[in-house]
Amino acid sequence: SSGINAEYGEYRIEGKDRTGMILMNISPDNLAKALSNAANATSMKMRLTKKQVACLSVEIAVPTTDGNGQRIVTQDVPISLVPLIHWSEFEDPGMPEIHMSIYFPPLRRLKNLLERMRNLSNLVTIQATWSGEMTVSVRSDLVTTKTYFIELDTPDTDDGVDMTRASAEVTVDIKKLLLFGQSQYLAASSRSICNIVHGRSLQLFLLQDDVKLQYYLPAVDL
């Protein structure tokens, strides 16, 4: 989700209900391909259109090689509209009551660590305390490793945080956790928040400018 007016020059929508929302299914690969021309774009327009099927038409204005004009590249990405009766399936699961909220150490550091640990085990355990300490550990028949991070910040928390536990931990699939760190969009300056529901799930928020990426990982039974 993003701050609407900050990003778009023009924004017009007529949704199906009072919220003015439209829900559509789209292939991320197809959308990514369509947007791959946008690196040097001067402007971009996205419209819902109906060609043979419903499409998200992406029009990208690219300067011509002689620098004097521009050409428009249009790509139609097929979509399927989600009928109103199915909208409840896509609702945000909402925030469960979390036991711990802490900022991750710098993501590139964490990613290097997880990539090494991935060769030792499929599962990783993340544990954190309110005093800004986090441990990241793996265990197998042959080896156990435990990495300690200290002096991490804890975000301001509001309702929905149960602060009765001094520490919380959860064990998740290491490959899935690595996916979170994979994005090229991650700048060195991006911060991410780690929320733990003890023994149940890991929730990660990546914050960069106006974009918020939210990622849920369920605990894996040991």
Partner: protein, 266 residues
Amino acid sequence: MTSSQHMFEARMENVRCMSTVLKSISFKEHATVFISRNGLKFTVEESKCAQVNAFLQEALFQSFTFSSDTLVFRLNLAVFMECLNILGDGGVTSLKMFYDEPAKILGLILEEGGVVTECNIKTMDADEILDFNFTSLRVVNKIIMKSECLRDTFTDLDASSQVLEILMSPDSPWLRLSTFGQAGSTSSEFPRDSDTVESFECTATQVNRYKLTLLKPSLKALLQSTKISVRMDERGFLSLQYMIRTEDGNTSFVEYLCAPDEDFEE
């Protein structure tokens, strides 16, 4: 001098001094580790015909205490290397390693930029290690040269050849490496008066063949090394000793021993 509560304990300021040396022998999953007051030796064997030894002498370590005479165990080298590299190559990682019996756990504590990792690796009992009986007393031919001149030759060895034939001689062609592959035979010769040859002690002409698959892994050590010593003994056994310069300017040695290919009939 303080005594350690561990049977063996050693500290190294920069773990890369160990990991770069071990990288050159890490072509098999397991290694046999020998600990003595002189340092550590890691041995990797291949099909009973070849053996690689990496020596990390006590002087490479900031501190080294060992309260026994000798200690031998089998270690999963692949896991050990992952642990040595776990804090990445951004900065300088320090290492403390220790070993305890009867737990038979090899412990590592790595630290870099305020982040600490503890690893505990289970070790196993060691199998018998082959003694190649290679002694300098029985060496017939010995050449010491700079590694860089052999790099291209070794990298480009014809993989379709079963063997690498090595000729060493007090007369021309001095040192010759040959392969016999699908495209035909290829030879590289290294004259004794070349700049790259530092020492030449050859007493008799010897020609021996060695299985190429056994020698290929030694390329890793060659690439890391500054100097190589090539020796052949009376039986035709080959010893390749590589001198590797570590991050902090110390030197470490990796030795490659290989038995001649018995299928070869002269």
